[in-house]
Amino acid sequence: MRTLSRDKYIIAGIITLGIFLLGLFLGLAIEGKRVNYIESLSREQNLAFSSLQLQYAFIDQLSQEKNCIAVQKTFEDNINNLESTRIRLENFDRDATLNKAELDILKNEYILAQIRYWLLAERTKKLCGTDIVTVLYFFSDEKECPDCEEQAFVLTYLKKKFKDKLLIFSFDSKFEAEPMVAILKKTYNVKSYPALVIEGKLASGFYEKDSLLKEICGRYSEKTEDCP
């Protein structure tokens, strides 16, 4: 019988396991921090939203349209903050292992925030006569929607081009925990992906840059320099 270094196999196993657990705990600790961080972001954003809502209510109630420009600025800042949350969530979604439940709650909050801002944007248009176009973007997973990644890229590009004059709200159609997603889908008759709702009108299937540009440009009441 040849020798077998039993001790070494066991010790090596214990050390490997130790390092693995250390990594796992480190990962979990970081994930916990992430959850807290996004939660605090979301709380701040909720507060900012309440304030913004009040500002519009104030304009509405006392017919203070002259304040529209100042409030408009706050609106844009808030939308930008929301974008930062989206990036955090996306990165978290990539790495998350065990905190899926928390992640879903955060995602849900994000979706609600988007719907609130969309409704507020519609109200602003009426109240202050702001010349903006809103787009609801419904996406799905790679299997159901192989073109979604490209569509998202084109939308991001257009957002960068039009900046505050274009508001895009994106919704994960697979996120069924939030009934509002289903309600929106039903309202606009969304059945296939990618699906865009431009100013309340459904546009299904992948839209290239130029055709999308045309769709969006047709919706502005004033001519902008970004439109051909």
Partner: protein
Amino acid sequence: MPIPIYVKIALWTAYLLSLYFAIFWFLVLLDREKKTKARRLRKFPTVTILVPAYNEEKNIESTLNSLAELDYPKKKLEVIVVNDGSTDNTRHVVKNFSESHKDCNIRLISKKNAGKGAALNDGLKAAQGEYFVCMDADSRATKDALKILLRHFTDEKIAAVLPLMKVDRPKNLWQKMQWLEYLVNMFYKRLMSRLNCVHVAPGPFSVYRTGILRKIGGFDEDNLTEDLEISLRLQSRDYRIVQLLEAEVFTLAPKTFKELYKQRTRWYKGSVINALRYRHMFFNRKYGDFGFIQMPTIIISGFIAVILFSSLAYYGLKPYVKGIYNSFLIDFDFYTLIKTFQYDFNILDINYTTILVAVIMLAISIIILKKSHTETKERLKKHGLISLASYLFFYFLVMGFIWVGITLNFLFRREHKW
């Protein structure tokens, strides 16, 4: 882009297995070695050195020269060159050399080309020495190598003693990276030797007991890597193979990626095929550490290489491929993207767990690299920092690429020719 769960599991398995192996050998390293004292050669035993040669007119002279200069009594030494149906001038080069070195006792056997295994067996049949040395025609041994190696046959069970093999005068980056690789591998094999786990006796200057070689039936003639097969066979019969770092031999390494790819495909493919042939040794208590750590390593290292390389290539390159494709979607209007670029980075976005594993692996690699140099009495920066960095961060990708090639080859079942 989220990574699918099965990819994550495969990646983590690969990480943990490599970590486990690294830690295991690290523990072996920490153990104090029970050194068996080398015996003194009271009487010089007879030795046959066999040089199988196929189209080696360029290299064989320096090989024969190094044999002629060996510090060993000429009367006890016999050199056999088996010309394996060379189509070049090998025969004449050998003839001329043996005529000008009459004292060297060089015999030339010419035969039809039948591969290295057959050439070795022909030599084994003709050999008169008590010890049998394989010597590839692209290698050189140092003067004292034979004496040192023979001193370590301290036990009847020791079937082979192997020298420290170094890359001969590396010139370009490919050879310099291999120079480092050989050094690390030799250091590892020395560790393996402590647990009697050596699984390959390479072509250049491995010394065998002739009697044992004959008893187990000589070399396999139809094998991609007959040097690995003979070692597995010796291990399966409970013989011992000892790796030394004191005796040195220099061998030529492939100069280009293409040559390297060809060589490694043969080596790794041969190792997998032979390991499967001796699969009864896997985790077999009878074979001790050899069955528990060495046999699995042969297979698992390929598995690790394939997983790490393919996922790194896929997830590392995909964003760039996507990026190029996406550029078409926006008619290359980068101006808009750059103009509005916002640096949005958060310290929490970093994946610390992967970084932890990477740091530990890198630390172990550096320690092993350093240790390999001190044990073989080499300077760490002998071939420059560029080759060191390339070896640490790039070479494993090359090996991964080769392993992926082999896997695809296996899947599509193509026959391998030498």
